[in-house]
């Protein structure tokens, strides 16, 4: 089977898995406790890394752009530039990549180990649908948590940028804050929230599909985990480009 056919098959399997999960989401018994537990693991558990990623990305943005803007005499716009980069691009993408590394790998490894130790078969033999019990709560938790984590990354990024601007370059905090406030539009915010929703779906569906498709024992678990992280990261970056273009058209932003 060549690469193109294999990729197409994987896209088909992943889409089918998402469709199954969506259909079974509202059937009884509901797994709300399972979903809340996943929201805790995915959301609350990822806060420290999102905080650090956001803060230092914002900081380095200021570090790199302030001198350039200063040479044009536009250093007052640093806050605008940092906030715009974060809200539109870096916040959603970096959050997605961090969550892929932390949560996507964990989901894939957990489901993969369950497959090779026959726990998935045992679950089916006991009359439980693994898609409803395992996949649906994880997908939904990711969909709900990704926008929240992205907003957190944006906020801490802007704080990081502001800290560097005021502490290293002696900028007045009010100047930084007002350039952020007057620079960012509601369309930027809408785009910045819609993207992580799609990224959450991508990360969840790919890692669940890779995990459930594990074969070949413990080596297979390693293989499917690596594959889940690599595939989800690449798909997130590719999807980001097309989403950015689509949002420009839909929200009528400057092209």
């Amino acid at each position: 089977m060549n690469f193109a056919i294999r990729s197409l098959l994987e896209v088909q399997e992943t889409s089918l898995l998402v469709a199954q999960a969506a259909r079974r989401l509202f059937r009884r018994p509901s797994y709300i406790t399972e979903m809340l537990a996943q929201m805790d693991v995915i959301g609350v558990g990822s806060l420290p890394i999102i905080f650090l990623t956001g803060f230092f990305t914002g900081g380095v943005l200021t570090l790199q752009t302030f001198p350039t803007l200063k040479s044009y005499g536009a250093q007052d716009q640093t806050g605008y530039l940092v906030a715009l980069s974060l809200v539109r691009e870096l916040g959603p993408v970096l959050t997605a990549l961090m969550v892929t590394g932390r949560v996507g790998s964990a989901i894939s490894a957990e489901l993969g180990s369950m497959v090779v130790s026959q726990q998935i078969d045992a679950m089916r033999a006991l009359g439980t649908d693994p898609v409803r019990k395992l996949v649906a709560p994880r997908l939904l938790a990711l969909l709900l948590m990704m926008p929240l984590l992205t907003v957190t990354a944006d906020v801490f990024g802007i704080i990081g940028g502001g800290t560097v601007a005021t502490m290293l370059y002696g900028m007045a905090p009010e100047t930084f804050v007002s350039s952020v406030r007057f620079g960012i539009t509601s369309n930027d915010l809408i785009g910045g929230i819609l993207k992580p929703l799609v990224f959450g779906l991508i990360i969840g569906s790919i890692s669940c599909q890779k995990g459930l498709g594990t074969d070949g024992g413990t080596v297979g678990v390693g293989r499917s985990t690596t594959s889940a992280v690599v595939t989800a990261s690449i798909v997130v970056i590719i999807a980001d480009f097309f989403l950015a273009k689509a949002l420009q058209v839909i929200l009528d932003m400057p092209k």
Binding site: S117, Q118, R124, A125, L126, G127
Partner: protein, 304 residues
């Protein structure tokens, strides 16, 4: 070439010799004599299955009657575990029919199979316990899914753990248990809810002889005291000795006792099916398999 049970019945003499055995059979089935026992619990009709061009099952046909224990023997890769997975609908055959309690389940959807599986118990090779939850939650799994009240759940879990002699381990996590204990918990979990059909997938592989013996005793108890139909996949000869040679009864003091079949009684509710490369190469009783002249079977039984 595949052989069906009917063909074998014609070529082999009936396993039961004499009046005594029929009486024994009558007494074994006395409680349930009104049930329609002529209907097989599981029936395979010319089932074929292959993976990536390799034939796993090549026209498998057999029946497991109600209350019968069918021991499936065979070397690794002979299609034994696959057969069990087909009964549960975890795999689907390429062709042929699979009938459970008179219902053709071959084309059942996953949702329909979920209902059928409620009547099954499955014991996996390594126990396949859910390692993120305790022994209690593992055994209670099916009841929790059905939303049974907690006090009833606890009662049933304790009863099942007593059945496998593991009540002390109720609060432990699966990682803290030994291999034999994990499998016994697996058995307790499979038996919650009183399944009509139980499948054992090499339950004694890699266990020490006394633990293996305990697991065989559980299978005998299920067969003789609970009237459960079962498929027991194994490649260990002492398992066959135990299951085909002993029966369980309740003694005068209420304790379960195991007695060897002797001159007075011959177990007719246990049969052996031997698979090789997805074909049935033997079907009959333990007495018949010991007398067989087939060189492969002789080598398999004696190890040389």
């Amino acid at each position: 070439m595949a052989t069906t049970d009917t063909e074998i019945d014609r070529t082999n003499p009936p396993e039961v010799d004499g009046q005594v055995s029929n009486e024994a059979a009558d007494s074994t089935f006395a409680e349930v004599e009104n049930e329609d026992r002529a209907l097989p619990a599981i029936e395979f009709q010319d089932v074929h299955l292959s993976f990536d061009g390799r034939k796993i099952l090549d026209g498998l046909s057999f029946k497991v009657m109600k209350g019968e224990c069918k021991i499936i023997l065979g070397g690794s890769g002979g299609g034994k575990s696959t057969t069990i997975k087909l009964v549960l609908g975890l795999l689907k055959p390429d062709s042929g029919r699979i009938i459970v309690n008179g219902d053709d389940i071959t084309d059942y959807s996953e949702a329909e199979m979920m209902h059928v599986r409620k009547r099954f118990g499955m014991i996996f090779q390594e126990g396949a316990l859910f390692d993120s939850i305790s022994v209690y939650d593992n055994v209670a799994y099916r009841l929790h899914e059905q939303g049974v009240p907690e006090d009833e759940v606890e009662q049933e879990v304790r009863r099942m753990l007593r059945f496998v002699n593991l009540e002390d381990a109720i609060d432990k996590m699966p990682a803290e248990l030994s291999g034999g204990m994990r499998r016994r918990v697996g058995i307790a979990r499979a038996l919650v809810g009183g399944p009509e059909i139980v499948m054992f997938d090499e339950p004694t592989a890699g266990l020490d002889p006394p633990t293996a013996r305990t697991i065989c005793e559980l299978a005998i108890k299920l067969r003789d005291l609970e009237d459960v139909s079962s498929i027991f996949v194994t490649h260990e000869m002492n398992n066959i000795e135990y299951i085909t040679g002993e029966y369980a009864a309740v003694g005068d003091d209420g304790e379960v006792i195991f007695e060897a079949e002797g001159k007075n009684l011959c177990l007719i509710n246990t049969k052996i099916l031997m698979l090789r490369d997805g074909n049935i190469i033997f079907s009959g009783t333990d007495e018949q398999i010991k007398k067989t002249e087939d060189p492969y079977i002789k080598k398999f039984l004696r190890g040389r």
